[in-house]
């Protein structure tokens, strides 16, 4: 098995820090969505690095009330230990969202509605998110700075060019730009980085009784995968071998062929 040195992680980290600093310099007011999963927690770690120990914008949890108890406990611990500026945004109930969506996708629609409410109330012009291109074929088409329309929708056919590191950060009043500083990372990179840096994570990712969560969504629509990986080393080894997609346990992605595209174009993360 080839072993990569950690030098590649330094390259990935510097790029993310560069993007975070560009976002903070050029877009205001700005906030970051912290889903409390492995990706956005690694991103939060890099926010602390980018701004030399400070967290200069709020961390937002779009809360459906349906997260695992372990997730809420982890949130409370980090808020306390790292003194996080946090906004716990309670999402509108399921009865308020598009009922033509498949059932599992309605949670995503609730989050989209929660985000829309937050944007309208706080007037953010920039939202930082920890999505990655290797997660999902629609996300693979994302830009680093991705302007959204005033209603939060995404029109992938009219994405502006993003040449080198000249990011399009200007949006009309009422619209906002999504900033994706983790697009160039893979799932494996995130775990290797989490291991190297000693970043805390929700224990549900580790195998218990032959099962573990590879991706964390709402508790009623996320299923664990068979796994014996009960340490970070074991997770890294497992990911080096697997062909199974990361979000296989996220039922909402596969309810219909266009499920994820519909979610994303209407404003989902």
């Amino acid at each position: 098995m080839p072993t990569q040195t950690d030098a590649d992680l330094d390259v990935l980290e510097s790029r993310t820090i560069y993007i975070l600093r560009e976002a903070f310099s050029c877009v205001s007011p700005i906030a970051m969505l912290w889903s409390i999963g492995k990706d956005s927690t690694a991103l939060l770690w890099m926010v602390r690095k980018a701004f030399l120990g400070e967290i200069p914008f709020p961390m937002v949890l779009l809360d459906t009330g349906m997260e695992f108890p372990e997730v809420y406990a982890f949130r409370d611990r980090l808020v306390r230990e790292w003194q996080l500026p946090i906004i716990n945004e309670v999402c509108p109930p399921e009865s308020t969202v598009d009922q033509t969506l498949p059932p599992a996708a309605r949670h995503a629609a609730r989050k989209t509605a929660g985000l829309r409410g937050l944007l309208a109330r706080e007037g953010y012009r920039g939202i930082i998110l920890g999505i990655r291109r290797d997660e999902q074929a629609i996300r693979a088409k994302e830009r680093i700075f991705s302007p959204r329309n005033a209603d939060g929708s995404w029109d992938p056919r009219t994405q502006p060019p993003e040449l080198w590191d000249f990011f399009p950060y200007e949006v009309p009043d009422g619209a906002h730009v999504r900033i994706h500083p983790l697009l160039h990372w893979t799932e494996l990179d995130i775990w290797r980085y989490t291991r190297r840096e000693g970043i805390p994570y929700v224990p549900l990712y580790l195998a218990k009784d032959g099962m573990r969560f590879r991706s964390l969504g709402e508790s009623n629509i996320t299923i664990p995968i068979p796994s014996t990986a009960d340490t970070l080393d074991a997770i890294v080894l497992e990911l080096e071998k697997t062909r199974e997609p990361e979000r296989a346990g996220r039922t909402m992605d596969s309810e219909s062929e266009d499920a994820f595209e519909r979610l994303r174009t209407t404003g989902y993360m």
Binding site: S25, A50, G53, P161, L163, P168, R243, E257
Partner: protein, 602 residues
């Protein structure tokens, strides 16, 4: 992955994933279902073309990336759309990769779109290119068809100065030569596409050579100012003196932070924050180098651009330049040449339109620090914006207007003197004196004011010296005797010369009736004085009588009134003549402005 529409880019990548066993049986089944639904045999491109619209129309709209984990290293493939309308997406993809794979369909060969894409690649400075000739399964004589295409591709790329690493025959749908060597073309002894990837080299930021540290922001922490930015080239070392461009302030690096650690040095590619030993002015947009090793400095740059904007542009257009982390207004000064994708030759042009590659000159009021020798720093390239839209990407060819400085220690030696060429590069035009002479009420002042407004709106530095106005201040002590009239002209010409020397377009509106005085005025600003005869027959002028002076002169109330009781010597050989009897003011103004623009070009 580049190539014309339908050359098979997405199919090649999709097939590669399948052949390498990186697609699960469940995913393959999903793929089969999506394909059946659209009435096509298994469509490998759907692995990348995830949008419904892309699948329905069987085209790639936006770039997609896929990861490939190989024993020697990992690869990220960027699949770019082939459509001409989607070049902004192609270029976005091209700007993030180290090497290119060009796909040519054997039945199509080098199309116009392929030529354009190759031109873009050359413009991006690609050093490494693989070429695949796809769809060989469609050819009756695969070997003959391939050999012919290979020769065509070689000679075409040669014109661009590109030598492909390999040219490989493929049949993507059947999988020949992608990950698995072909079984049916025994004449092919070369590598598969996968094997040839090993010959590509990833870009690594140059750790040796000049230092470039691009400033993103300044943070205050515990009473200290920390300058955050990216080392783009060279190595930044604690304890060394650095110079910040373009202002050329300098200080010693007293600490390098990679929170939570402090380090002694940072190499190219590292995002860090630094502290300085003394407080100097530094802000976002500055670039640090070591003394004597800085970027070029000037008020204008010549650059190669790819135009993405929908509207064609012409010289005079005001745009926003983003170079490094700086942003400033610039004027499109000149279109040096536009590259013809058919012949690949540069030819003069008046406009740059969408998907053109062109060489242009941009002028700015601010000093631009740019790299014209280091290829990969963010001050060696730029984007242009119109309003908030990116309309072009560019690479700096040369910086004009000031010789390369030797560094901060030489600031004194450079002296504070500003060279005339620096002024016109900053302003975007030369100074000059445009002397409007003519009878009272011929339209001199109106013409001067109209021209001034229009030139000002075009970004010109322009000022009007009006005879009547000056008589209320500078020339308050002068009357209308011959001597006083001469002195009036002399003083006005002297002021005009000073302003023109300072870079202004000066429009003088004075009757200045005597040829002799005007000859002297010309001598006060040699080479840049233009006599403009605003002609108008006496009857018309008298009919206008804007100020009622003719009437009073006829009544004898004003003595020595030009045209009535004092002579007017019309110019025999004016540099320009406008006739306000026959032309309207807008027409005359257009003639005058055209003349002024022509004679104040850099």
């Amino acid at each position: 992955m580049v190539g014309d529409v339908d050359a098979g880019k997405s199919t090649i990548l999709g097939r590669m994933l399948v052949d390498l066993g990186q697609v699960t049986p469940a995913k393959l089944e999903e793929l089969q279902n999506s394909s059946t639904k659209r009435g096509v045999p298994i469509e490998y491109s759907f692995l990348l073309d995830a949008f419904q619209l892309e699948r329905d129309q069987a085209i790639t709209l936006d770039i997609s990336r896929i990861w490939l984990r190989m024993p020697d290293r990992d690869y990220v493939f960027v699949d770019a759309p082939g459509h001409r309308e989607l070049i902004r997406n192609l270029l976005t993809g091209a700007s993030e990769v180290d090497a290119a794979i060009m796909v040519v369909a054997v039945d199509e060969g080098i199309t116009l779109q392929t030529r354009r894409q190759a031109l873009f690649l050359q413009w991006f400075g690609f050093k490494e290119l693989l070429v695949v000739v796809n769809k060989l399964d469609l050819a009756d004589e695969p070997e003959t068809a391939f050999v012919a295409r290979r020769a065509e591709i070689r000679s075409f790329l040669e014109q661009l100065g590109i030598t492909p690493i390999e040219i490989i025959p493929l049949a993507a749908r059947d999988g020949d030569n992608i990950a698995v060597a072909t079984q049916r073309w025994s004449w092919w002894k070369g590598p598969t596409l996968l094997e040839s990837l090993a010959q590509l080299h990833p870009y690594t930021a140059p750790a040796g050579g000049p230092l470039r540290f691009v400033v993103q922001d300044v943070y205050r922490r515990d009473g200290n100012r920390l300058i955050a930015g990216l080392v783009e080239a060279g190595t930044l070392r604690k304890g060394e003196r650095v110079v910040f461009w373009p202002l050329q302030t300098d200080a010693v690096v007293s600490a390098i932070h990679r929170w939570p650690q402090e380090v002694d040095q940072a190499k190219a590619g590292d995002a860090v924050a630094i502290a300085l030993d003394e407080r100097i002015f530094v802000d976002r947009g500055a670039v640090a180098s070591y003394p004597g090793d800085g970027p070029a400095l000037g008020h204008a740059v010549q650059a190669t651009v790819v135009w993405l904007g929908g509207d064609p542009v012409m010289p005079g257009e005001t745009l926003r330049l983003r170079i490094g982390t700086r942003e400033m207004p610039v004027t499109l000064q000149r279109i040096d040449e536009v590259i013809d994708p058919d012949t690949l030759a540069g030819k003069p042009g008046d406009v740059v339109a969408k998907s053109d590659v062109a060489v242009i000159t941009l002028a700015a009021r601010e000093l631009i620090a740019a790299d014209d020798e280091l290829e990969t720093t963010s001050i060696g390239r730029f984007v242009l914006l119109h309003d908030t839209n990116v309309v072009a990407g560019g690479r700096v060819r040369s910086v004009i207007g000031r010789p390369r400085s030797e560094g901060a220690t030489d600031i004194v030696a450079q002296t504070s003197s500003v060279q005339p060429n620096e002024r016109f590069w900053r302003n975007g035009h030369r100074g000059g004196v445009f002397w409007l002479t003519g009878l009272p009420s011929a339209g001199k002042s109106t013409l001067a004011m109209t021209a001034q407004r229009m030139l000002f709106d075009r970004g010109r530095h322009v000022y009007v010296l009006d005879g009547d106005t000056l008589r209320t201040s500078l020339n308050l002590d002068l009357g209308f005797s011959e001597e006083d009239r001469s002195e009036n002209v002399r003083r006005t010409a002297a002021v005009a010369a000073v302003l023109a020397d300072g870079g202004f377009v000066v429009i003088c509106a004075l009757i200045s009736p005597f040829a002799d005085d005007r000859t002297k005025a010309r001598a006060s600003y040699p080479g840049g004085f233009h006599e403009v005869y605003v002609s108008c027959d006496l009857q018309t002028a008298e009919g206008r009588d804007v100020k009622g002076h003719y009437k009073r002169a006829r009544a004898g109330e004003i003595a020595r009134f030009t045209g009535i009781s004092s002579p007017y010597e019309a110019p025999q050989n004016p540099d320009l003549a406008v006739d306000t009897t026959r032309q309207s003011i807008p027409e005359s103004a257009a003639t005058l402005i055209e003349y002024i623009e022509e004679n104040t070009k850099p």
